[in-house]
């Protein structure tokens, strides 16, 4: 058994025991086990990996290995490259708790296994069940690719909870977070994702992290891993290491029994086991009647457990039967989703922008309308210049040209006027708006685009925003325009740095101030003053209309819009909207 992490990681211990227990179920003790631990979080680097590989290679050389059970880290190296290099003919079964799929190379090596994902939907469901008054979820996350993959999935699932704000804490250190969780207001819960590395580069395993955060938190904390239970967390629809280990043990037995691992597809499971810590329920005053009947309650005084043991076991059996069906359905669904994702990727950027942004359509129509008269003016002016260069310029002709230029100038002016009136009077539908909701909805709308462009799009809402009066559709267009601009600005930076943040706070005068901030290359200082001019653009294929129209919309609402550079990198755009008059 090859472990990517150390021997002391709680999830490992439980899984190891469960695998062994499952494989020795027949009581014959025919199978001998050896375990090795790479301990990659504490000893990273190629040299360490090479030494470990040499050591394993020497130690088991000719040792009659029949099977490797691998517990790889996020990179799957322990399930693929290492056993393939050392024991090319020994079958490999792996168990991974991973948000990323096993690379294709692995299945080509004749390796099979189980990829267990976090049950985000189930956990959010459990939170709302236990604490229906939850209005805000603070998500604790890390900075590695895998951490971001998990956060991406949480952001995706968060869309289903319209009444709840999600706030992603990714750019503060764990030390800072352990302080900040102490002053969260009521109505908030903490959802702990993974922090394989925090913003300072320090690695954490989830049990450790839960132990650091849960005791000092002013609100309940939820987790995705069963091994983090007991640290003070309330619980979650968790990955149960014992159940996972048992499933891996069964798979290992099948392969040992002669089944060709190449013919066993890698299982991807997303369903978790609802599990709560009884002591944490007591601490936060959560009524036990709220706990779903199928949930496992841990750390309850033994007598109560004994009393309901049979009932729970029956329910568990029912649940397991359901889980089998559901897993089947989920596998089908995940296949369909993958197909959909491919289609999404194939769509061109332009097509999508046009789909979500009516402003995109508007700018395109307007620039077409304007380019006709502008083109005519240009051609006429050029013709006039050429006539004037001749020896006897035909002044009649030049007079006619000037008259035409004037006519086309008026035509262009009319296009602008039409656009203004379109935005100002006819279609401004002013109504009181719940701005938090508007922001969440717009960010959710842009989320699929963000995924396709591998941008991490986060919404940060700290305080309740005052209501404003405005036109929902137009304000949404302004936001979308800023968000899409931000994504465009980051097309050239490495994936890991593509972070786009939308945040909002109450403004000093009682209104709202919104910030859309990217990590792109920023704006050249000499261009900042011209950003909102019509036809001014820094994009190769830009129309230079988006910000101009945004400005018209915001000013029509009585607000202001401006932009500038972020420190240390990227650009930020801000706009304000006045408060709703009483």
């Amino acid at each position: 058994m090859l472990f990517a992490e150390g021997k002391d990681v709680p999830g490992n211990i439980l899984q190891e025991q469960a695998v062994k227990a499952e494989m020795q179920k027949d009581g014959t003790n025919r199978i001998e086990f050896s375990s090795e631990y790479l301990d990659a979080s504490h000893f990273s680097g190629k040299e360490h990996f090479r030494v470990f590989q040499n050591y394993i290679g020497k130690k088991y050389d000719g040792g009659n290995l029949d099977l490797v059970v691998a517990f790889p880290s996020q990179d799957y190296m322990l399930a693929g490259e290492l056993p393939d290099a050392l024991f090319p003919i020994v079958p490999v079964v792996f168990v991974a708790v991973n948000e990323m799929d096993a690379p294709l190379t692995i299945s080509k090596l004749g390796v099979t296994g189980i990829v267990q994902r976090f049950d985000i939907r189930g956990t959010l469901g459990l939170i709302m069940r236990l604490q229906p008054d939850t209005r805000r979820v603070v998500v604790i996350g890390g900075t590695t690719e895998s951490d971001r993959a998990t956060l991406g999935r949480i952001a995706e699932e968060s869309k289903s909870l319209e009444s709840v704000q999600f706030e992603f804490w990714t750019n503060r250190s764990v030390a800072q977070m352990s302080v900040d969780v102490g002053s969260l207001p009521e109505g908030t819960v903490i959802l702990m994702s993974t922090v394989l590395r925090d913003v300072t580069g320090q690695p954490f395993n989830t049990s450790q992290l839960a132990q650091m955060l849960a005791p000092s938190a002013s609100v309940p904390l939820y987790v995705f891993g069963g091994w983090a239970l007991g640290s003070g967390a309330v619980g979650g629809s968790v990955v149960d290491p014992e159940d996972l280990g048992a499933r891996a043990g069964q798979l290992a037995l099948r392969v040992l029994g002669g089944e060709d691992p190449e013919k066993v597809p890698i299982e991807v499971a997303t369903k978790g086991t609802p599990m709560v810590d009884w002591r944490a329920l007591q601490r936060w005053g959560i009524k036990e009647s709220r706990v779903p009947a199928d949930a496992v309650i841990r750390y309850r005084p033994q007598t109560l457990w004994d009393e309901h043991r049979d009932l729970i076991l029956i329910l568990l059996a029912v649940f397991l039967a359901q889980a089998v069906t559901i897993t089947g359905l989920l596998v089908q669904r995940s296949q369909r989703r993958r197909a959909e994702a491919v289609i999404l990727d194939q769509r061109t950027e332009i097509a999508h922008v046009t789909r979500v942004s009516t402003m995109g359509q508007l700018t395109s129509a307007i620039s077409h309308e304007l380019n006709q008269p502008l083109g005519a003016i240009l051609r006429n002016a050029e013709a006039a210049e050429m006539f004037l260069q001749k020896e006897n310029p035909d002044l009649e002709e030049i007079r006619a040209i000037l008259a035409d230029i004037r006519k086309d100038d008026q035509r262009a002016g009319n296009v602008i006027k039409r656009m203004r009136s379109l935005l100002k009077r006819r279609s401004l539908d002013l109504k009181p708006l719940n701005f938090d909701e508007l922001l969440a909805e717009t960010v959710a709308l842009a989320q699929s685009d963000a995924h396709a462009r591998q941008v991490f799009l986060a919404l940060q809402l700290r305080d309740k925003l005052p209501d404003v009066i405005g036109d929902r559709v137009h304000l949404q267009q302004v936001l979308l325009n800023l968000v899409l601009n931000g994504m465009d600005a980051m097309a050239g930076v490495p994936k890991s740095q593509r972070l786009l943040t939308v945040s909002a706070k109450p403004a000093k005068d009682g209104g709202v101030e919104v910030t859309v901030s990217d990590c792109g290359s920023g704006i050249a200082p000499d261009k900042i003053g011209r950003l909102f001019e019509p036809f001014f653009t820094t994009k190769e294929n830009g129309m230079g209309m988006g910000l101009a129209i945004s400005q018209t919309i915001i000013e029509a609402h009585g607000g202001k819009i401006w932009g500038g550079n972020n420190s240390p990198r990227g650009a930020a755009f801000f706009f304000t909207l006045p408060a709703r008059p009483n």
Partner: protein
């Protein structure tokens, strides 16, 4: 550098009359002969064999659009290079236009140097292609004077067959073959079998699908 070269007319097609007028003016000022049309249909209606020059067309027009105009023109008796103008270019349309053999693809706000340069190139190409077409037409007219029997003999000659083989193949006297050969070389005004072969190939008489 942008002086007009060669002959030929620039046919401008654009539904925006004001732009049509302005660009006609500019090209006239630059010394070109210009004809303006407000729709692709009107232009195609007056198209006659032997017309030469180039077409400057708007891409987005009601009725037949620029790409459709390009396709119709390519099939007509007087194909001409097309330069496209668009109020705003998008990549898929550009690619399509260029694949269809467009000389260039400009936006209406491009500077005049770019426009005049594209027109100069299109006219030069149009002249070249029209000259080649004229040469071909003239060549085919010459071959058209041959009798069916002479054509048959010619077909065997350019394959490199000797008179005797030709006589056997056609079931005629060797002396008759000689007579046909003398007549056809005189009518086509050629001196050698090599020249005869080259002209036959140029006219595309037997080699490709245009053999007639």
């Amino acid at each position: 550098m942008n002086t007009p070269t060669g002959s030929g007319t620039v046919y401008i097609v654009d539904d925006d009359e004001s732009f049509l007028k302005s660009v006609s003016r500019l090209l006239r000022a630059a010394g070109y002969s210009v004809q303006a049309f407000t729709s692709a249909k009107k232009f195609l209606e007056q198209l006659a064999p032997g017309m030469s020059g180039c077409v400057l067309a708007d891409l987005q027009m009601p009725g037949l659009n620029g790409l459709e105009l390009q396709a119709a023109l390519a099939k007509s008796a007087s194909p001409m290079p097309v330069v496209f103008l668009s109020a705003q270019g998008d990549i898929p349309t550009t690619v399509k236009a260029m694949r269809g053999g467009a000389e260039d693809f400009l936006t209406k706000l491009d500077p005049k140097e770019k426009l005049l340069d594209a027109i100069r190139r299109a006219l030069a190409r149009g002249a070249r292609e029209s000259k080649a077409r004229g040469h071909l037409r003239e060549l085919r007219e010459r071959f058209a004077t041959l009798t069916p029997r002479e054509l048959e003999v010619l077909k065997h000659v350019v394959r490199g067959q000797l008179n005797k083989q030709i006589a056997d193949d056609l079931g005629i006297n060797e002396r008759t073959v000689k007579l046909h050969r003398t007549n056809l070389t005189r009518r086509l005004n050629v001196k050698s079998v090599a020249e005869l072969t080259r002209l036959t190939e140029e006219a595309g008489l037997f080699g490709d699908g245009t053999a007639g």
